[in-house]
């Protein structure tokens, strides 16, 4: 690293910010609170995604995709839910711009006002349960086990790269079940998936628990979570899994005919982890010299650096290094041969 980052002891917060930038993981964007994830940072996120996606599929889930925009009337159908998210929603009111003749500037066309405003999803329960109403009629349609990879927007005032950003990437699982017991066990199963992922891949020990009422997800009956400890002694919530009871089924009128031929409301869960996990990964393991990644999530696990005198020796070494390179790859290890002469070995 060309220029040293601050030491953790001096200023942990600055250490983190500088590390994220110097390691080439992410940077701030022209819109305050939004981030640009750079290729190296994104390749770590991709490794996380791949592993989590495998774990979701191994537990019977399928991926789907729902729209970015939610009609305002949908969001207001579940009372607690809207109250929890209303303060941080981005709203689309118009669909066209035009050149103003007088000022010669681009302005919002007042004639292009939407009849109903659209909300940029802060989470997708409402659009998904509105859809489930059409997908679920009988107990044979259950359980419905769906995950979505996407982005959401929550208008945060105090933001930090990866840890808290207005737009972030995440996955959100949304499942529907015939019984309460089944939905509760799904909620707990996904918490276990998250805690296995954190411990085995992120090398991050976590404590599993349930949130108190005031920290609960807006619209849930119970929020389960995993909590990790960062090097400055602060906790970081690394994943949540919600038991929704029949709240969203009631709000969106999602009913099914059970085995006895009677109509009943569907039970739900939702669960998610986000690019916030990148923040946890960086903060938990890195040191005053910079980024430390657990090998299970490192995009490059091994770097081969030649130590040589003169061009001739470099070519000889490069030949040997190539052999080692390919035999490591055949063993499933990711390798980079770094012969840049601008960097000193060591």
């Amino acid at each position: 690293m060309a220029k040293a980052i601050p030491r953790r002891e001096e200023d942990y917060s600055l250490w983190y910010n500088e590390l994220v930038k110097k390691a080439g993981l992410a940077e701030n964007s022209p819109v305050r609170g939004c981030m640009i994830i750079k290729p190296y940072g994104f390749s770590i996120w991709e490794k996380m995604q791949q592993q989590l996606d495998t774990m979701f599929k191994n537990t019977g889930h399928e991926n789907a995709y729902f729209p970015l925009f939610i009609p305002k009337s949908h969001l207001s159908k579940e009372a607690d839910h809207v109250e929890g998210f209303a303060k941080e929603c981005a709203v689309v009111t118009h669909y066209r711009l035009k050149n103003d003749k007088n000022s010669k500037r681009l302005v919002v066309d007042p004639d292009a006002k939407l009849e109903e405003e659209l909300i940029v999803r802060p989470t997708s329960e409402t659009v998904i349960w509105d859809t489930y109403k059409n997908w679920i009629q009988s107990y044979r349609d259950l359980p419905l086990l769906i995950n979505q990879w996407g982005n959401v927007v929550r208008w945060e005032m105090r933001t930090r790269l990866f840890l808290r950003t207005a737009e972030f990437l995440w996955q959100e699982g949304h499942t529907a079940h015939a019984t309460q017991a089944e939905a509760v066990s799904e909620t707990q199963q996904m918490l276990d998936v998250y805690s296995d992922f954190a411990e085995k891949y992120m090398a991050l020990p976590v404590t599993k628990g349930v949130k108190s009422e005031s920290e609960r997800f807006a619209g849930a009956e119970d929020t389960y979570c995993i909590e990790a400890l960062m090097q400055d002694g602060k906790a970081l919530q690394a994943g949540t899994s919600h038991f929704l009871g029949q709240n969203f089924a009631k709000a969106f009128n999602v009913k099914f005919t059970n085995k006895e031929g009677k109509e009943d409301l569907v039970w739900g869960t939702s669960w998610g982890v986000s690019t916030r996990l990148m923040g946890a990964l960086i903060m938990a393991h890195s040191d005053d010299d910079g980024l430390v990644l657990p090998p299970n999530l490192a995009p490059i696990q091994v770097v081969i650096i030649p130590i040589y005198k003169g061009e001739k020796q470099l070519e000889e070494i490069a030949l040997k290094a190539k052999k080692i390179h390919s035999s490591l790859i055949s063993k499933g290890i990711s390798v980079k041969f770094d012969r840049r002469d601008t960097h000193k070995p060591g």
């Binding site: 020990p205 404590t207 628990g209 108190s212 909590e227 602060k234 906790a235 393991h285 090998p295 290890i333």
Partner: protein, 124 residues
Amino acid sequence: MASGTLEIARRDTKEKKSYPIKGIEDKIKFLLTEIQSNIYNKAQHFKEQNTHQADTYDEFKTLIENKGGFIYAHWDGTKETENIIKEETKATIRCIPLNGNEESGSCMVTGNPSSKRVLFAKAY
């Protein structure tokens, strides 16, 4: 490399060691597994060192102020008490642990009965 050996530098411990090139692939595979568990163990050790119990509110305030970390304490289960703690110390209830032992005690703020300790910390 000319001598048939190469040097391996570990990022986690910053240790450097020479190994013969013959059989290096298996050595590296082994080392990657070891690094993974070393990083976990280090984090686990840190977590243990920074997890405390508080029995009185004064003790709790001192711990939060000076040491931070995870603090297990008794809470009476009310929103009001939770808010008092949050306003006075900036610590929040992170969770009611699933694997926590049942242990009857009294709330560190109100003295009302509690059946198990909950996890407090300042949080991101």
